[in-house]
Symmetry: C2
Subunit: 157 residues, 2 copies
Amino acid sequence: MQIRNGLRPMWWHGRFRGCGYRITAPREAILDVLSKSDKHLSAEDIYIKIHTHYPVIGLTTIYRTLDLLTNIGLIFKFDFGDGRARYELVKGPKGKTHHHHLICTNCNRIIDYTDFIDEEIKLLEQTEKKLLKKYNFKSTNKLIQFYGLCEKCQKMS
Amino acid sequence: MQIRNGLRPMWWHGRFRGCGYRITAPREAILDVLSKSDKHLSAEDIYIKIHTHYPVIGLTTIYRTLDLLTNIGLIFKFDFGDGRARYELVKGPKGKTHHHHLICTNCNRIIDYTDFIDEEIKLLEQTEKKLLKKYNFKSTNKLIQFYGLCEKCQKMS
DNA sequence: CTCTTACTGATAATGATTTTCATTCTTAAT
DNA sequence: ATTAAGAATGAAAATCATTATCAGTAAGAG
Ligand SMILES: [Mn+2]
Ligand SMILES: [Mn+2]
Ligand SMILES: [Zn+2]
Ligand SMILES: [Zn+2]
């Protein structure tokens, strides 16, 4: 397959080894695509990006790998309501982890927003504690999304 | 078809007429099922419930009607990540509108929670305003969900 | 009651994701 | 470096929720 661009271990190799997973060309390629994009890519998006360079890698493997990466917590899987899952590296280049999404219900544009998050996070963590007490529900993830119209789509309506 | 249980106009008839929609037996049946359940029903759930009594109504119509009801704002459509959409009347019997969801990622149980919402809503509305200013994004809906393990599933792990 | 056309349901189509299974490749052990 | 075990892969077929088609039905305005 010969995709490896050098044998230097990448930052995620350790995590993989620790879980008993093998490091393979498709996995390298997929993580590479994800880490070089700031978009919210679907499985097919990734497939197409990789396919131009390495036609060998199949869509099945993309799905399997994305599942794996989601499970070990390296990527987030989102559903923005357009019928296909979208994926995003948990840590962007600068380690910015927490952000939420604005979703235009007209053109499906996704806007990341990281502002005003501190208060949100604080409140949500409080809430999590209360939920644990009252419902015995141990929350591990929280999801916040705003649906509406983006600037462009407001003008057209 | 003859499902109408009486000719008395229901609370939602006005809304329907106003939008130019017709009042039909399948629509009555679907709204009836939804208003008598406190669960989060999928299209098929509803189909099965109705089908025992009125085998005439097809799944296609269920989907179409749920779409319609979602669009005119009578019901909410949710995706809890199990591959099928789930629906819920916007107003419960007592008019309780705002609530969010705890989702067990192990057994898929959904817990409604209405506690601690006031602060949340307040914060979110603040945030909405800020988002409008900064991104010119006009939010119409917000979604909050907590993912984690319910009481039962914590014990088993 | 009649007419227009919104609504319906059977059926087929779609399209994202999963399953299957024979083959290939990673990697730990020799 | 060689080898052996089994994890990972990809082509193809299968799933399965949702949507599109289309000819027939019925709501409801006049
Ligand atoms: Mn994002
Ligand atoms: Mn609910
Ligand atoms: Zn838009
Ligand atoms: Zn559970």
